[in-house]
Amino acid sequence: MKRPLARLFTLASLCFAAMLLAGCDNSTSPTARPGAGSSATPSATQPSADQPITAGQPGSTQPASGANGSAKKLSGVLNLYIWSEYIPPAVLEEFTKRTGVKVNVDNYDSNETLLQKLQSGVVDYDLCVPTDYMIKILIEQKLLRPLDAARLPNLKNVDPRFLKRGFDPEQRFCVPYLWGTTGVGYNKQSLPGGVEGWGAMFDPANKGKILMLDDMRECFAAALKSMGKSLNSTNADDIKAAAELLKKQKALVKTYNSSDYDNILASGDVSLAQGYNGQIAKLAAKEPAKFAYVIPKEGTTWSMDAMCIPVKAQNPDAAVAFLNFILEPEIAAQIVNGVNYASTNAAAKAFIKKEILENPAIYPPADLLKKCEAMEDLGEATSLMDRYWTEIKAE
């Protein structure tokens, strides 16, 4: 009786070990991209972001930023959990130079991954950078530490239209960072006619040339917007109609990818890619004759990322100092110049490169921006949408 059981356990543990090995690979997969490693360490040199630090000169140690006066008390490390390629390493080095606090960077590629990590309670990040709708969820689940406005004098630099929004009406939990749009990057050579709206992503003529984000909400947003509906619609008929459209579209889609879309577009595997503007703007800036980014005329998602301090932060003082630091106009501008996303910092405008300020892909015209919406949590409708999403992917 005993031996087969023992053998079963040996086998189970072996298989478990095998699964564990496979699991280790799996767990890193969503965030891992070939280039992500380089952005994970502040010391790594990143060619495009290595501009000289204007604010870093010895003379400009910012006496104005009052909170940095507490710098003498700061010590230890600051664990920053942020999207990949979302902060220039030079900025982190500058912070270390001023405060002596070393910054460790860890990357994620979806808000949901961030939520999972914070929910698990086993990590102790000092700062994270969720998107608007996720801030609401994080606040509801009591995963964020309230901020003391008195300790954030530089918050005055933020453009008021990014403050006190619905998810954080008293501005108690987050400090606006960058904002951007989800749109279409395309290859000008394969699409000489250009792209204006979402229609191109659903056009049978482009079969096999399309990349969609592997993101349920963004795919539904594209479909809903192309039908003239709100991307936050919780109406079952709207969601169903969008799902039908996406099901039909699947035959045209070559791949769904959320982390590597710019590289796949650059490699020529696809000619049209749904993606976030910063990464595609970077590609278009590198090869302006070949690639372009367009905000679809029907409107799209606009999203703001904001820095928050998780409840479990081990070094909240350093986190507050870091928030004041990135709110300084010169530093905020340096970030924008490095990552090609628009700043929420009004005072930074004076220091941002002219070609970025004038680039409609990064700073879209006001009339187009009016048609864009920020994502909101769908509540119960999330489950309905997920079911359709599974149906789309089950084919």
Partner: protein
């Protein structure tokens, strides 16, 4: 150790295993089991239960399992199962001749080197190797470049982002888990039995089918378990090489924990997958007992 009663010694030796399994396998599985009876709250966390009696007597605690029996989810289960079976069969078909060559036909002095060559790629992260396959198979990738340079094709082929590329990735990734146990069983094979078969008039094929294969079946069985189980839960390969166009059980479970924020349903699906694997292992253990020998 000398002052310990002999009876407690096996227990002490087993303690690390039990602790590891308990802490990292039984405990998480218990948490998943409890979660699988819960409900998603509108914000995507766990709904608190106010009336336990009503919750249990109405059968609501089983609703995640009921939902998983929907044709949609069963179809994904079925496809994953089918892909895992195909991966296992292909691995066996590819690994067996290779292992046969390594164990029996290869010159002894090359054996070590050849075996090392078969295993060395697997020192690199599985993810990196999968990305390498993307570079090989993409439209302007190595495979297409070579085929065009050799004037075999004019236009690049669509090699990436389909079922075939997923299969290539799966088989490639799991191959050594089949190769090594089969190699071990062939290596252990008593050569005098083969000679006896030949002496008694068996031809090459007959000798293989009636002697070699049955005697190395335990290696194949072990390889089958080692390949089938991980490929059933795979989701990276279908994401990267399949362009995440088709969902497998692994993707489905992952989605429930991420975008859908439905941990209870994800837990129920994960438990069903575990149960399926456990059934397979029990069948394997039964087979092992029937053969009356150590298989692993």
């Amino acid at each position: 150790m000398a002052d310990l009663a002999p009876r407690s010694r096996p227990f002490l030796l087993l303690l690390p295993t039990w602790l590891t399994l308990g802490l990292f396998f039984v405990l998480p599985l218990g948490i998943v089991l409890i979660l699988s009876f819960a409900q998603r709250s509108p914000t995507g966390s766990i709904s608190p239960v106010t009336d336990w009696w009503a919750y249990i007597s109405s059968g609501k605690f089983l609703s995640n399992y009921a939902q998983s029996l929907d044709g949609l989810y069963l179809r994904i289960f079925w496809r994953s199962l089918w892909m895992a079976v195909l991966t296992t069969v292909l691995c066996a078909v590819i690994a067996y001749p290779a292992a046969y060559y390594l164990a029996i036909a290869a010159p002894t002095r090359w054996k070590g080197l050849l075996l090392a060559l078969a295993v060395i790629p697997f020192w690199t992260s599985f993810l990196v190797r999968t990305y390498a396959w993307m570079l090989i198979l993409r439209t302007q990738g190595l495979a297409n470049d070579l085929l065009i340079a050799a004037h075999l094709i004019k236009e690049p082929l669509d090699l990436l982002y389909n079922q075939t590329s997923v299969m290539i990735g799966l088989v490639y990734g799991e191959l050594p888990f089949m190769l090594l146990p089969v190699y071990a069983s062939l290596e252990k094979l008593d050569r005098s039995l083969l000679e006896a078969a030949s002496d008694l008039g068996a031809g090459k094929w007959s000798r293989f089918w009636r002697v070699t294969l049955p005697l190395t079946a335990p290696g194949l069985a072990a390889g089958t378990v080692l390949v089938f189980v991980p490929s059933l839960g795979q989701f990276v390969v279908s994401d990267l090489l399949g362009g995440s166009r088709s969902m497998l059980i692994g993707n489905m479970i992952q989605n429930q924990f991420t975008t859908a924020r439905n941990q209870p349903f994800g837990s129920a699906l994960a438990l069903e997958l575990t149960l399926l694997v456990l059934l397979l292992l029990i069948a394997y253990a039964a087979y092992a007992r029937k053969r009356g020998e150590e298989l692993l």
